[in-house]
Amino acid sequence: MKVSAILGVGLGIPALLVSRVPQPAEDAEAIRRGEYVLQASGGCSCHGDPASASYSLAGGRPIKTPFGTIYGTNITPDKETGIGSWTDEDFLTAMREGTSPEGEPYYPVFPYTSFTRMTDRDLLDLKAYLFSLAPVKKENREPDFSFPYSSRSSVRVWRGLYFEPERFEPDPGKSDEWNRGAYLAQAVAHCGECHTPRTFMGAVDESRYYAGSKDGPEGEVAPNITPDEKTGIGSWATADIVWFLQSNLLPDGDSTQGLMAEIIDKGYQRLEESDLKAIALYLESLEPIENDVKAK
């Protein structure tokens, strides 16, 4: 019996508790696909409104970083305070290049450094989904960063040093399943943003991709998810990775807490089992890197 025959049967997961606006039938399919993209990204949890019981994406959530606290922005389609006036091009530019419609660079806490690899189709489907939500009028809050990080000019310098817009390029030498997993992990699910250690300048340390970080978002430890036997997930079976992303349960029966638990709840657990297996296959193919982020 396939694992999906069991695991895919009604986990009792409610649909996202968000208000929706009726849409023309021709948009329905794009919206449905866009909701899936949102789930694959972890539910855009950083844009959640902590004051909203219905998990609206009106922003306001404080996100602690080593450089100060930044607040998730309003990505509901409110025309004044959200993204309701954005064109498709505005949305693609924001997600791919990290630049607002006004030409301002976004702080890379917004993981456009990963989303830049996403396809047009996925991004525009995501926009269709976000635009199907009920608009919420809520002003964005400026980050509480100290100088020099408080200046957007510092972001321009940072981007000049560390960011180049790119696209995901499938590896023709690998299977479709591996490429799907690589695309999801590298671009949509943006695993590397938390699970890769960063340099003192806040750039992802590409020599230790996915090797874990002691200084993850919210001050949390982001575990090493390379297949290293001692310090990573090398002892996990494929089914362990899939089950973890579906249930939050670790192989030892404990459950994860914090941000990872949240993005599984709001996103990953709703993904097709085939996509979760593809992510597992990709993670298993990575170079094992010994890096004990749990050591004090």
Binding site: V3, W243, L249, Q257, A295
Partner: protein, 167 residues
């Protein structure tokens, strides 16, 4: 001739002796407390370990690492629920220092803590009932419900990963 500085230091001797004695008493008290708390903490942690073991075993069955045997699933579900009944007694003593991952909020929100343990017992009973029917498809969502009940208590009352004593 006695130098002034030496005379000053001699005058501190009784103070130093008294301080040392007081420190010794305090350290002795702290050690005695630690010795007294150790079995209580270990008892709690073994309850959690027992529940974790059953959760891991159910996970391995659902992952098809182990064959599905409804009678085993019933035991695992029951085990988690029975251990949950012991949680209020096991945590009655307030211990916030030492080798513990329990937050002080356990005791400041005691009624809620007990209610959450009760919720785990109830979720486990539902899982056990489903397992008794032998329907494997029915148990999967209920395992998640049991895990949600565990997390319902862990999120507010267990220290986050980076603050745990055993890392």
């Amino acid at each position: 001739m006695i130098r002034p500085g030496l005379r000053f230091r001699r005058s501190l001797v009784p103070v130093a002796l008294a301080s040392s004695a007081a420190l010794g008493v305090l350290l002795g008290f702290a050690n005695a407390q630690e010795d007294e708390n150790k079995p209580v903490l270990e008892y709690r942690q073994r309850i959690m370990a027992g529940q974790r073991a059953s959760m891991a075993n159910m996970g391995d069955i659902l992952k098809f690492k182990m064959p599905y045997d409804a009678s085993h699933f019933v035991v695992h579900a029951k085990n988690i629920g029975e251990f949950a009944k012991l949680i209020p007694d096991a945590f009655e003593k307030k211990i916030t220092e030492g080798l513990t991952d329990a937050k002080p909020e356990v005791w400041t929100n005691w009624d809620d803590f007990v209610a959450k343990a009760q919720a785990l017992t109830e979720a486990s009973a539902k899982l056990q009932a489903a397992a008794e029917t032998g329907d494997m498809k029915a148990v999967t969502p209920l395992v998640k419900t049991v895990n949600d009940a565990c997390r319902g208590c862990h999120d507010p009352y267990r220290k986050p990963e980076e603050e745990r004593f055993k890392r």
